[in-house]
Symmetry: C2
Subunit: 272 residues, 2 copies
């Protein structure tokens, strides 16, 4: 998907919402557990319910790997379902991979050739040859961790006189441009996003943490949106997909997504 | 596996060799490709051939994920094969994972509970809560990336007045001790290992890069061994598993492993 396609989809929907698909056995509505493919059943219902209100889906691979090869199959089938039924939605494999060159190539094949997602999250620690193989796929995106939203972000991401996360954005920004590269930008404090935006001037930012991880949508938008280009994908996982615990879980998820969509539509209208 | 068990196994074998199991379709001997489970067939033959000369196996998950859920199954079966037939060998899932706390917990479950490997490699970028969940498994090991052996290592691992990789060793070293924590220590220049050893005083180091990635075994040992405790696992992947291309591929792999074992035995004898 091109940057322009993504921006257009955001404007059509009035939404820059990304929904995280992180299935946790203990939180799945009990009536679904009778199904052999309960992850897929859960995801399909959520996907259909929230698709009108979001532009992206983000399955985190950890939640599938926890169930071994069967879990991996559920992930593949969930991605295939999105592609078949909601072909304009942007799919992010939240995998946080990164390895030496020839190994990163294998990961790139796994996610871009085989699973055919639009984007993958990548950890920058191993440097250029760990990231470049992902940038070689036309129309695909690499989303590099810059500033994350967890407590441990402070441990290394601020290391150095020039904080490491800024160095990451500057260096990685030389290896690809804003047509193939985004950054993960945590939102524990919105003013950090403003600082980050000064370095990542025209890149899309993937902002986790609206909902369970905290962070205010309105503040995030004001500190870091790119006006007409928007430049933001804001993710919510648990706040949406586990909004309901019973038979009406997907309805409740759809409702939460719609509420976020409303706020986003207003923010876009006020700023553009 | 405890640190003492690992050290004892190293002394019994006179070997601190780890063999990387990274199956690449194009390099598998043609006669194996008739098998539906050619990855498992390849791995089983290699495992049996090199097991007498090594103390650890290290499958890199990328090479399995590239084949989707089937590949993941081949990985699970390869690990199960090692556990059943070579139960004293240390198994490292070279996965380079790392995510926010609750997500790292899912990865820890995937690899420690479900696949039941002894160790997993973890990327430190996201800090404490991304690493701690892996440390909560009794008898399991976390191998944190410190200094890697690839070209891109220079991009971020030396960032800051105190190089980032040293800061990683110091901080992570406060979260776990040398009974559950190792570091990845690249070997493009052996004197870097000496510097690294000054910070990671009694941790085992996993050293990649003997063979295809360069690095001299003897130099590595002299710069960073821990005398009686050894404190090193030196990995070789391509140099061993692709030593032969024909029907005798496993014999050739065994021969290469044996040659490394000989050098290691001599080094241990000379130093202890």
């Amino acid at each position: 998907m091109t940057r322009q396609d993504l921006i257009e989809h955001i404007h059509i929907k009035g939404s820059f919402l990304c929904v995280g698909l992180d299935p946790v056995k203990e939180k799945i509505p009990p009536h679904l557990m009778a199904h052999e493919d309960w992850i897929l059943q859960f995801n399909m219902a959520i996907i259909d319910a929230v698709a009108p209100y979001c532009v992206a889906f983000k399955p985190n691979t950890a939640f599938y790997e926890a169930y071994g090869s069967w879990g991996w199959e559920q992930l593949e089938q969930s991605v295939a379902y999105i592609k078949a039924h909601h072909p304009h939605h942007f799919i992010i494999a939240d995998a946080k991979r990164g390895d030496i060159g020839n190994t990163s190539s294998m990961y790139a094949q796994a996610f871009f050739d085989r699973m055919d997602v639009d984007a993958i999250t990548v950890a920058p620690y191993m440097g250029e040859d760990s990231i470049r193989p992902f940038l070689e796929f036309e129309g695909k995106w690499v989303i590099v961790l810059a500033l994350t939203s967890n407590k441990g972000a402070k441990d290394f991401q601020y290391h150095g006189a020039e904080p490491l996360y800024k160095e990451v954005i500057k260096k990685v920004g030389q290896w690809g441009d804003s047509n193939s590269l985004m950054f993960v930008a945590g939102a524990t404090k919105a003013e950090q996003l403003n600082e980050l935006r000064e370095v990542a001037k025209d890149h899309f930012l993937l902002v986790p943490g609206v909902g369970a991880q905290g962070g205010s949508l309105e503040e995030v938008y004001k500190q870091s949106c790119l006006k007409q280009d928007i430049g933001l994908l804001v993710n919510s996982s648990r706040g949406i997909i586990y909004a309901g615990k019973g038979e009406n879980f997907s309805e409740r998820a759809g409702h939460e997504a719609m509420e976020l969509n409303k706020v986003m539509t207003r923010l876009i209208r006020e700023s553009v």
